[in-house]
């Protein structure tokens, strides 16, 4: 007879590794053998986590189809036993798993589709913050503009994709036939954020991506304008920078600003 600790270890190995040692601790019922009864727990563990992954990676599922998704789920469950209290976190390693595990790694769009799904799920319940609005920007004194430092909304994240994963995601999400997967000539920048309660993403151009990356690191608006001028020409640089900024504010990607006390760079 095992003590409680040993019994729980055997029980867990019985579920995770198919080890039958626990069966010696279990009774047959009047109606059923112990193997079948313990099998309820073995089955439930895999079924429950498979359901979690199917919910979290719905688009990945529809992209690869039922057969491949079942294999993928089986491999993922074996590779990553759940170590968090909430099942919501169980699938968090999926993008990394897909980019590192054969045969999935041979299709780089898979990890990127999964990464987009995870990013949207993360944005959905990320921390709240009052968005910075265009009306609030309009109240800032002109002399303060060069010194503005913006705070991104806690839900906003920037990604870079090497494939047309975003296009595939959009088609599948709209229940349309996805385009053929391909590697893009240039990597594509993607912004994921939450507008009110809806998680969204949009592809952005290289100049806007550069400005976003600098802005979220605390670069002042005056310097951002100079960087935009260097990136794609001085003509209309301030207007381009202001347009990007207005778009971010319009769609709830920013959570506030500070006025820098003195030039930071």
């Amino acid at each position: 007879m095992s003590g409680l600790k040993e019994l729980q270890e055997k029980f867990q190995r019985g579920i995770l590794a198919g080890d039958d040692a626990v069966l010696a601790e279990i009774n047959d019922s009047a109606k059923e053998e112990r193997e079948t009864l313990f099998g309820v727990y073995r089955y439930a563990y895999v079924a429950r986590l498979a359901e979690v992954l199917a919910d979290d990676y719905e688009v990945t599922h529809s992209y690869v189809g039922d057969g491949t998704f079942a294999k993928l789920v089986k491999a993922y469950i074996a590779a990553h036993p759940s170590d968090r209290r909430s099942a919501r976190d169980f699938g968090r390693h999926m993008p990394a798993f897909l980019s590192a595990t054969a045969p999935f790694a041979a299709h780089p769009e898979l990890a990127e589709i999964a990464s987009l799904e995870k990013a949207l799920a993360d944005a959905f319940d990320a921390a709240d913050a009052e968005p910075l609005t265009v009306a609030m920007l309009a109240e800032i004194a002109p002399e303060d503009w060069p010194k503005l430092i913006f705070t991104p909304h806690p839900a906003a994240r920037r990604f870079t994709f090497t494939t047309n994963a975003a296009e595939i995601w959009t088609a599948l999400h709209n229940e349309a036939a996805p385009p053929k997967a391909k590697t893009l000539p240039e990597p594509q920048a993607i912004l994921v954020w939450r507008q009110d309660v809806t998680a969204r993403f949009r592809p952005i151009g290289p100049e806007e991506a550069m400005m976003w990356d600098e802005a979220v690191q605390g670069t002042r608006f005056g310097v951002l304008c100079e960087m935009v001028a260097t990136f794609a020409g001085e003509d209309g640089a301030e207007l381009r920078a202001a347009t990007y900024l207005k778009d971010w504010a319009d769609t709830g990607m920013l959570a506030g600003y500070q006025i820098a006390a003195r030039p930071s760079r």
Partner: protein, 284 residues
């Protein structure tokens, strides 16, 4: 520690995201809601906004699925901290979880795993319940789970074990009517022995749910309407315990809100028949 026995809340439902807008835009005949604690251990967005709105309008209780009170791994203090933070926001009438374990060595099997009914397990669980109650500053409510296996080493019945935990740790009980029915079928004991075996004054909540019948055993799937046999046992349960906050628990294959409200009305009807309207109203 908050020591008063929680109030009778009437007839409630488990809050499910599918029903948020129907609840907030309508006025369903639901007296209170039970929320799954882990689902609201997130930072913000729609889940927290909906939760705040529900809490403004209804009494709410918190129901956890991963406290793992019977696990031999150390208590997860980070989880308890998050539970306490959520409780400060929700101000629940009580906090419940299950008399079970969910994993050891940092693994979560996301299942409500059975405990051997031994003196060793009893002492372990009692000690842990006391620790959790000290951290939360309130009495815990513990639910009996459905089980599919029994252990050769058990030294007492499930109801003896449950009762001893409640009495020694001084906690409340959530009497899951369906779980008693399922385990009684699976292990061949009498539902009435369980009913008569737990301390009446400790029970503060009932769960009523559906299950899947596999001929030789029943699996507690919460994906079907409540079956007639469980309603019959609910009737006996109400007669035995008197007015106790009752909830329909549906976790999968979730129907429109109206279907669950109808099931809840059925529970209300049975309680009214058994106890009489004056007694129910007085309790409310």
């Amino acid at each position: 520690m908050q020591n008063d026995k929680p109030p009778f809340l009437g007839f409630g439902l488990g809050l499910r995201p599918q029903h948020y807008s129907e609840i907030l835009n309508g006025d369903p005949n639901v007296d209170w809601f039970e929320v799954i604690s882990e689902n609201y251990m997130v930072e913000g967005g729609q889940p927290m906004r909906m939760l705040d709105q529900i809490c403004d309008r209804y009494p709410v209780v918190m129901h956890g699925v991963s406290l793992s009170i019977a696990s031999t791994s150390p208590l997860d203090m980070e989880y308890l901290g998050r539970l306490k933070t959520l409780a400060a926001r929700v101000k629940p009438k009580w906090i419940s979880d299950h008399l079970c374990w969910t994993g050891v060595h940092g693994v979560n099997l996301h299942d409500l795993l059975p405990v051997p009914y031994t003196k060793e397990a009893l002492a372990h669980v009692v000690d842990r319940v006391k620790q959790v109650q000290d951290v939360l500053g309130r009495r815990l409510v513990l639910e009996n789970v459905s089980s599919y296996v029994t252990f050769g080493q058990s030294e007492m019945t499930e109801w003896e074990f449950v009762s001893e935990v409640a009495n020694r740790a001084d906690c409340w009980l959530l009497f899951d009517v369906n779980n008693v029915y399922v385990s009684a079928f699976n292990h061949g004991f009498s539902t009435n022995d369980f009913l008569n075996g737990v301390p009446r004054d400790r029970v503060v909540q009932f769960h009523v749910a559906g299950h899947s019948h596999e001929e030789s055993h029943i699996v507690d799937t919460h994906d079907h309407p409540v079956c007639p046999e469980v309603w019959d046992f609910y009737r006996e349960t109400v007669a035995h315990f008197g007015p106790v906050s009752t909830m329909i628990e549906r976790d999968d294959n979730i129907p429109p809100l109206a279907d669950l409200v109808e099931e809840l009305d059925h529970a209300r009807g049975i309680a009214r028949e058994v106890l009489g309207s004056p007694r129910l109203e007085a309790a409310e």
